[in-house]
């Protein structure tokens, strides 16, 4: 019974790494499916306030973002700036921006478009109110005040 003789020495067999690439690919595909690419470079810094009654925004493709806060590059000053896509913008630009974003969606999805306001917690309400009024005029009525999760 050659099977049982121990003549071959007692070396550790090498670990079979043939399936390692498959495992890594599985992880890779997981990340590719679950993530979205960062689409804008942020030019304002903001810390969103926290709230307890928040809801998750389900479909990312239906969400349009408006960022407000102090510019990261201090040569622009320290006031409150608004960022749409990749550049600073004024309140008047919101109307065109919303129209443009809405046109990119399917016709039946347009009613579900949500605008997520990512606003720094130290912002004065006057800026937020202006933006809200502009959104109303642009008929983007579904909005979400972006916030972090807080218990209680």
């Amino acid at each position: 019974m050659g099977k049982f003789n121990k003549s071959g020495g007692r070396e550790m067999p090498a670990l079979n790494t043939a399936s390692l690439p498959d495992m890594i690919f599985a992880i890779l595909f997981f990340f590719m499916v679950t993530t979205t690419m960062r689409e804008v470079t942020l030019m304002v810094k903001f810390r969103v306030p926290d709230a307890s009654e928040i809801q998750k925004l389900e479909k990312k493709s239906l969400v349009t973002y408006i960022y407000m806060g102090q510019p990261i590059d201090t040569k622009f000053g320290t006031g409150t700036f608004m960022q749409l896509n990749d550049k600073f913008a004024e309140v008047e630009d919101i109307h065109d921006y919303i129209a443009q974003e809405r046109n990119m969606l399917n016709e039946q999805d347009q009613q579900y478009m949500t605008v997520s306001l990512k606003v720094d917690e130290d912002t004065q309400m006057r800026y937020v109110t202006e933006v809200k009024q502009a959104l109303r005029r642009a008929y983007a009525l579904k909005i979400s005040y972006s916030a972090r999760k807080r218990d209680n």
Binding site: Q55, Q124, M125, S144
Partner: protein, 208 residues
């Protein structure tokens, strides 16, 4: 037989793992996992003309005004809150949330709180007396900080969520989140969220 012995040599696959790792790290770096979340709200449609603004009249008792001033103090009815802890009722004052709940439900059919109307919601809720005309009006100053504003909004939404949750437990014996969509709709009809974010006002003659 000689044919079989002459195998094509295997491609060396030991570096596939490295290539996959590189791709993995690339996606890890470029992607953002965080799902965005926030307080969902619905803005009223834009006013068609100026006259429409003044036409909407609400009876005094049906209106709860929540004011947030420039010092981030909140006033509701005869109660005022200097900071967030007071608003959440941690200091012994009646919290904003409880105040809103009392306003929406009007349990004792009080004269100062919104009018109760009997309405048939169908099974399993049946006929119920609800304050269907109540409005919570949230007003803020131009210099109110966004943080406080959102904290107040959060408390208002929380009041509604708790009321709905209680109703869901009462009629379906399940928490609100576990209800089906049409069951949720029914509960939402019993406690409709009626928060009005008022037209902006300038208090104290600040110039824009």
């Amino acid at each position: 037989m000689a044919n079989k012995r002459k195998k094509v040599p295997d491609v060396n696959t030991s570096s596939t793992a490295d290539i996959a790792f590189l791709l993995l790290i690339f996606f890890l770096v470029t992607s953002s996992m965080d799902t965005d979340s926030g307080l969902a709200r619905r803005l009223p449609p834009p006013p068609q003309d100026e006259t429409q603004l003044s036409e909407i009249k609400v009876q005094r008792r049906n209106l709860l005004v929540v004011l947030v001033n420039s010092l981030n103090q909140t006033m509701v009815g005869d109660e005022h809150y200097d900071n967030l802890n007071q608003m959440q009722g941690k200091t012994g004052k009646q919290s904003l949330k409880d105040k809103v709940k009392e306003f929406v439900v009007n349990p004792n059919n009080s004269e100062d709180l919104p009018e109760l109307f009997e309405e048939d919601f169908g099974p399993p809720v049946g006929t119920l007396r609800v304050t269907k005309d109540h409005v919570i009006s949230l007003q803020n100053d131009n210099t109110t900080s966004y943080k406080t504003y959102l904290a107040v909004q959060n408390e208002l939404v929380k009041a509604y969520n708790e009321l709905r949750n209680e109703a869901a437990k009462r009629y379906y014996n399940r928490p609100y989140e576990e209800l089906l969509t049409d069951e949720k709709d029914l509960i939402n009809k019993v406690y409709p969220q009626r928060i009005s974010e008022a037209e902006p006002k300038d208090y104290g003659g600040k110039k824009k």
